[in-house]
Symmetry: C2
Subunit: 114 residues, 2 copies
């Protein structure tokens, strides 16, 4: 109930938790690039997409585009939905739905190269 | 790829599959009422919310409002996201993300009344 959110929150949290991608109002492809970079560039085994409110559908779009077109061995490990309480600038509390989609890549067998 | 959708689809499917609620562009409370009626009036043990595109966030809102405010023993059994191929009126194929949220009530123990 006393949780405060600022406009800078997304950027701040992205720095502290590397494999979490915060989905906002940009087109899905912006976030697809971020997810692909996280998997391929940074070698993450798991990437978590987080979104609130109207951005929830963009999070689902992002996950679907990633696993259908870019990282075909990526699976959806878990989807959690919840409600967050937000205090807006006028000091009023309001509830917003949120989603967390965990994408994970299957462990590859390296038998072929050995 | 050859799947065809018409504007009447939502209404048609609602008739054939009673415990499925199709989420569209109305406010979440419209669908909350439908879900609560399904659980309490029709005695369903499981209700499935289906939504596509921008309505996905409304489906999440609906599920959250139902279990937080109306049917507190309802749990989220499963969440599935997928991609559907739609042929629009100009005959072009396009992909749209979809979500299915299964809500279920825990079996009550009637010990108290006996």
């Amino acid at each position: 109930m006393t949780e405060k959110t600022t406009k800078k929150r997304t950027t701040e949290e992205k720095r502290t938790d590397e494999n979490v991608i915060y989905i906002g109002r940009k087109p899905p492809m912006s976030y697809v690039l971020a997810v692909v970079t996280q998997f391929n560039g940074n070698g993450s085994k798991e990437v978590i997409l987080k979104a609130r409110g109207k951005s929830i559908s963009t999070a689902v779009d992002t996950a679907e585009i990633v696993r259908n077109r870019f990282i075909t061995n990526a699976k959806i490990k878990d989807i959690i939905i919840s409600t967050e309480s937000i205090t807006n600038e006028e000091g009023r509390d309001s509830n917003v739905s949120s989603i967390e989609i965990s994408l994970t890549t299957i462990k590859k067998t390296w038998d072929i190269k050995q």
